[in-house]
Symmetry: C2
Subunit: 190 residues, 2 copies
């Protein structure tokens, strides 16, 4: 998605060779108009599918997943929770998720009542890096017996390998911008 690549180059910031900060428009401050365009693009890319639910991971996936749910005609959105608050007494599907950015391992959970074998699920997230969050969400969908239609990532960092692992596992993956590498502070797209 050309305008996304331009926005990443213009407003994003490369830190070292691993990290791209897009907190001015995607995951701290959100450009709400631009977000609509991302949601519409995911709708265009997955127009041949018929999801019943959008699934994402709290918290920075929520905004782009919501914009996508809207572009599909206001589908229900479920976000996996990274801890088990004490209001969550129901049975849950759970997966372990490692965060390379934060250096933590957490447990992602979705209440069983919100994903059923009757659901067809599209996973949406802001970043796809090593693919730990994505793999966790795919695992949760598998546990639920729902159909996994695919995953949309706003920004895929190809060099961290999560994308190829998902594709090899047979997941249909559509990324709006694919970063091939970061060299000397310069972001190179595929």
């Amino acid at each position: 998605m050309r305008i996304l690549e331009e926005k990443i180059l213009h407003d994003g910031l490369a830190l070292g060779t691993e990290i791209v900060k897009v907190d001015s428009f995607l995951n701290h401050q959100i450009d709400v108009h631009f977000l609509r365009l991302l949601g519409e693009e995911f709708h265009r890319l997955f127009a041949d599918t018929h999801p019943t639910k959008i699934l994402t991971m709290e918290s920075s996936g929520i905004a782009c997943a919501l914009a996508t749910a809207q572009s599909f005609g206001d589908l229900p959105l479920v976000f996996a929770k990274k801890t088990v608050p004490n209001t969550m007494v129901d049975d849950v599907y759970a997966a372990e998720v490692k965060s390379f950015t934060k250096g933590t391992i957490s447990r992602a959970v979705v209440a069983k009542k919100f994903l059923t074998p009757q659901d067809a699920v599209l996973i949406i997230d802001d970043f796809l890096a090593h693919g730990e969050a994505a793999t966790g969400m795919c695992d949760i969908v598998r546990q639920s017996g729902a159909q996994l239609l695919g995953m949309g990532a706003v920004i895929e960092k190809e060099f961290q390998g999560g994308g190829s692992r998902l594709r090899e596992a047979g997941v249909r993956l559509e990324s709006l911008a694919v970063i091939r590498c970061i060299e000397d502070g310069v972001i190179h797209f595929r």
Copy 2:
């Protein structure tokens, strides 16, 4: 907001005398169409104000804040982060926030570059209970020198006192549903 009260009664669940679970439509699974109505209602209630930014707290505030930002013509949305990930190297405004639900104390931060004295800020959150998150966000707005226009809460739990503390502190507060008390599993609205 009558339809919200009906939805809470119909789809929500009272746990003990303190907790209302609305995870089927607000903070785990999100009813995306209904969320639009909440955003439009906040726009109606604050139509006399002219915010430049919407501020909320990750993660369950993001969806209703985004819907509100959309109803104000796609305003930028900033969500305070509850930890400091290692991608967040900038100067931040910070406030301590206690969570009664999770029994934790965390630090909410907003990068200084996203709130300036030129901003007029409307705070939106899903719940207002003891008011710790709200107070933290008000404190962050004050630190930034931005104008605080007010706060909108989807559900205020009046009996936990956060609302009266905010109003006494001079904050204009609009809550879409105000729960007076929970008795024997029954939710009573003001």
